[in-house]
Subunit: 156 residues, 2 copies
């Protein structure tokens, strides 16, 4: 493999929040994240995928102790005209770090296969040129991290 | 702002593909990306957000000339038991690069606001500790990139 996987890191002190059914028009994501910014919330991950019928969901991950109340989320939903919000604090982040990681055909498939073989469900995915991050259940973190380490770091 | 935005980069020679309504269980993402890997497809971005009723969508961005046919996508959908697939080749990537970028409260809101003020709709979002990537319509790329540059790079 041309990509050198430099590190596997993880973080279990996080929670995943989704703002659901927001209008897919300019200014919606801006409002959500301006509110978070004003409250000093440190956002670890943002993922937004395919829209449907003029609406979309916005999923993001924050530290478990982020200064963010249920009422804040409801206010955001109301302001942008979204449907509802969800929060899950039993999640963790698994990060596979390597220069140009997503440019290596096969590396993403390998990472996801290693997790699948451990029975780890991948709840969300965010990638860039330097890191592929999977959101998984907190209870799956240890076996997922260990398997990735064995498959990607120790075998070289 | 503590985060130094180091660069704004963009790429218009890309297309966005979504595999829709796939079962949210281990092995699905693995299959999709193993197939892409076997075909030597270079994946620039992967985003998967909130699942619904045991199903999810997986959105990814590849170079416009990636060796990937409609039949390949249909085969993937059939194999994993998904609903359908979509492709849009009139998209572009806008990347805002900076160390620790998502850890700066307010930076995401600022980026998305700058785009909103230009009337640029944000079709997908992927973030990491080093880069926030927005998928936008190809026709919006120039004004979006220029506005981000003016707001984040030139004003400092
Ligand atoms: C859904 C949200 O991202 C919207 N498309 C926006 O540009 O703000
Ligand atoms: C939807 C897909 O990501 C699935 N959850 C998997 O783990 O493969």
């Amino acid at each position: 493999e041309k990509v050198i996987v430099r590190a596997i890191t993880d973080d279990r002190a996080v929670r995943k929040i989704s703002i659901l059914g927001v209008p897919d028009k300019p200014g919606v994501a801006a409002h959500v994240f301006r509110v978070l910014g004003d409250q000093g919330v440190n956002v670890r991950l943002i993922v937004q995928a395919q829209s449907h019928d003029g609406h979309n969901d916005i999923t993001f991950v924050v530290p478990s102790d982020a200064p963010l109340e249920d009422s804040d989320l409801q206010n955001v939903v109301n302001t942008v005209g979204g449907k509802s919000w969800l929060m899950d604090d039993k999640v963790a982040l698994l990060n596979v770090v390597g220069e140009g990681i997503t440019r290596e055909p096969g590396i993403a498939g390998k990472i996801f296969s290693v997790l699948a073989e451990e029975g780890v469900n991948i709840e969300a995915i965010s990638s860039s040129n330097l890191v592929i991050t999977c959101v998984v259940a907190e209870e799956s973190l240890e076996k997922g991290a260990r398997a990735l380490h064995a498959a990607l770091i120790e075998t070289d």
